[in-house]
């Protein structure tokens, strides 16, 4: 008799525990943005939880370089979180095709985003969208305003201005003109080639033509940026070959360098470190009055793990991410990551405002290698890193680099064969 009561009592508590669990759903977010942990914990998640009682959210980021590998293994093993921060293009597309990301095309919140914003998380034919766009990053140059004032320099508009400014800084000798190194390789491609390049290949026009096979990487507009990059070497610091990405950041924020080829994601970090006033200028055009093109790269989205146990709660969160409210919190808490939703967001940070203002003056595009073209082996993005470094170091001519990249691309990509 007593054992039976005990059993009943145990059963009762088990059921009660189950009921509590059903009430309080906990969603886990996978992300590579470990820099943003406090922002999520202190601002974004409390704002969401206040509106949605019963849903708890926990943000569990991993290191950026390990994210893709770690996420893939977790998804294969079925231990990944409910919500998944999406890398743009193929990394996420592969997850969708493997059935790990749910199709979100019919979500109402998708109406808040432009087609370009969604393009990074769609199938090639645009039929299915599987991540809600969160933010983009804009490329340009951040400069030390105090140094410019001291040397009496103006912000360069054209390429000739740009090199004249660099010459003047070099002649003065107090500052390193350009804070960039080639040790980590990606800066040369991301902050070099894809920063200045869109002005040569005319943004989306060139990028789409390249994907369609109408332009080749050996064409003048794709080779010329390498020739320009080759000229940068003279203005980079001594021993730039072994200068790493954190080295460059430190050189600039310590006030030892005047210009930093940048992505807007640097803004919040630089605001915290630099003790001088900073400004930003967009990639210089070739001749005054030319249309300017900027790399406004779709960088972060968020999707739903198709195997999640709480699809309803996850969708509620995603719908909230698509709302203007989230865009305002996110855009201001993380200056430099610009929300992609159609509703304009008022930004407070002056540097971020400067970057965002270019969206009105220039044509936006995304990095040339990200959509479709880095799908095969050899990987065009990785090859572009190497090529940009080789251009700066002068170990190969721009024409050789163009030919090498074109050969690599043509070896697997049908429109170029």
């Amino acid at each position: 008799m007593t054992t039976k009561t005990l059993k009943l009592a145990l059963l009762g508590t088990a059921l009660a525990a189950g009921a509590v669990q059903a009430q309080d759903v906990t969603l886990t977010i996978e992300s590579w943005r470990n820099d943003d942990l406090t922002l999520w914990q202190d601002q974004i998640i409390p704002a969401f939880e206040a509106e949605h009682p019963g849903i708890k959210v926990s943000f569990t980021p991993s290191a950026p370089t390990e994210y893709n590998a770690a996420l893939n293994s977790k998804l294969e093993a079925g231990s990944a979180g409910d919500l998944i921060t999406c890398r743009p293009f193929d990394a996420s597309l592969a997850l969708y095709e493997a059935g790990h990301l749910a199709d979100l095309s019919d979500m109402e919140a998708m109406g808040n985003f432009s087609d370009v914003a969604k393009s990074a998380w769609q199938t090639d034919d645009g039929a299915a969208t599987f991540c809600v766009p969160m933010a983009s990053v804009i490329h340009g140059f951040i400069y030390n305003k105090d140094a410019f004032a001291e040397l009496g320099l103006d912000v360069p508009q054209t390429e000739d201005d740009f090199f004249a400014v660099l010459d003047a800084i070099k002649e003065d000798g107090l500052y390193i003109p350009l804070a960039m190194g080639t040790n980590d390789q990606w800066e040369a491609a991301t902050m070099g080639y894809n920063n200045i390049g869109p002005n040569y290949w005319k943004g989306e026009e060139g990028r789409r033509a390249l994907i369609a096979g109408e332009q080749k990487l050996t064409d003048a507009q794709w080779v010329a940026p390498y020739a320009t990059l080759a000229r940068w070497a003279d203005y980079m610091g001594l021993g730039y070959e072994a200068q790493t990405y954190p080295d460059s950041q430190n050189l600039f924020t310590l006030g030892r360098a005047a210009i930093y080829p940048a992505g807007s994601w640097e803004i919040s970090g630089f605001n915290a470190l630099a003790e001088f006033e900073m400004g930003a200028f967009k990639p210089p055009v070739q001749a005054a009055g030319d249309t300017c093109y900027i790399s406004d790269h779709t960088d972060i989205g968020i999707g739903m793990n198709a195997a999640t146990a709480h699809p309803e709660a996850a969708k509620a969160f995603l719908a909230w991410v698509g709302s203007p409210e989230f865009a305002t919190i996110f855009g201001n808490a993380l200056p430099g990551f610009f929300p992609l939703s159609n509703t304009p967001v008022e930004l407070d940070d002056p540097l971020a405002k400067e970057f965002a203002s270019w969206r009105g003056e220039c044509e936006s595009t995304i990095r040339s290698t990200y959509q479709i073209l880095s799908r095969g082996t050899p990987n065009l993005e990785n090859e572009t890193w190497g090529a940009s470094v080789a251009a700066i170091k002068g170990t190969a001519t721009p024409e050789e680099l163009g030919a090498r990249l074109q050969d690599g691309l043509a070896s697997w990509y049908a429109p170029h064969q």
Partner: protein
Amino acid sequence: MQIRRVRWHIVVFLAPAVLVYTTVMIFPLFNTLRLALYSRIEQERVFVGLDNFRRLFLDPVWADQFWNALGNNFWFFLIHMVVQNPIGIALAALLSHPRLRFAALYRSAIFIPTILSFVIVGFAWKLILSPIWGIAPSMLDAVGLRALFAPWLGKEEYALTTLALISVWQFVGIPMMLIYAALLSIPEEILEAGEVDGITGLAAFWKIKLPLILPSIGIISILTFVGNFNAFDLIYAAQGALAGPDFSTDILGTFMYRTFFGFQLQLGDPHMGSAIAGAMFAIILVGVCFYLFGIQTRMRRYQL
């Protein structure tokens, strides 16, 4: 007629080790080799036989990278063999000198880097050699040799050698310790007998001690070989998975990692990755067999 008893206690005592070893070593090893025979085509895993290996060795896209990594790996190994091991032996010979003072201090100091993490070693040396913050440029400057400084880790022609030397710095303690132990085990009587015959000092080292420690040197060589061909950590910590500049420091370990897990926009390919891992396994197996059957069996052993 006596029935042979089954000796159950042997099975019982072996079981834990066999079970653990099978689950964490033998099964993954064979499963990796099996994985190398498949490929993923249109979301389906398809058996392709040895096609992955054909691509790895013959398709220029893969072969160029593979031979580059293999060549770099041999260079990495060569530096260890000609720098680390002779220095280790020399240090051991000095340390075993009976009249050396503070021998224990030197021994610990030289051995300490071995127990440091690769990440710390990679990071510390990157800072030391940094052209911007490093102490290497200013130290060279102090002796008037500033012109000799170059951003070694960033130059294609020096980066791999520099990393190999960093690894030598880290691991020189291991051959030193092993040889030191071997030298200590040489009985005094033999050396004294040699002295009576007029063999002292350096001659005693070359003619008596060295032949006696040759088996230890063989073991060290094979440990170095296996360690170097499995190396990955230091290159990854110092140069990243792309093993820059321009793949000049790419060794089989980094090549395998990049292929297996993917990198940046490059998606991971577990099947090609397994093929590379299989090739690494084969290279190490051949090397170890060559040593075991080709060298060790012919090595003369002396009864001490």
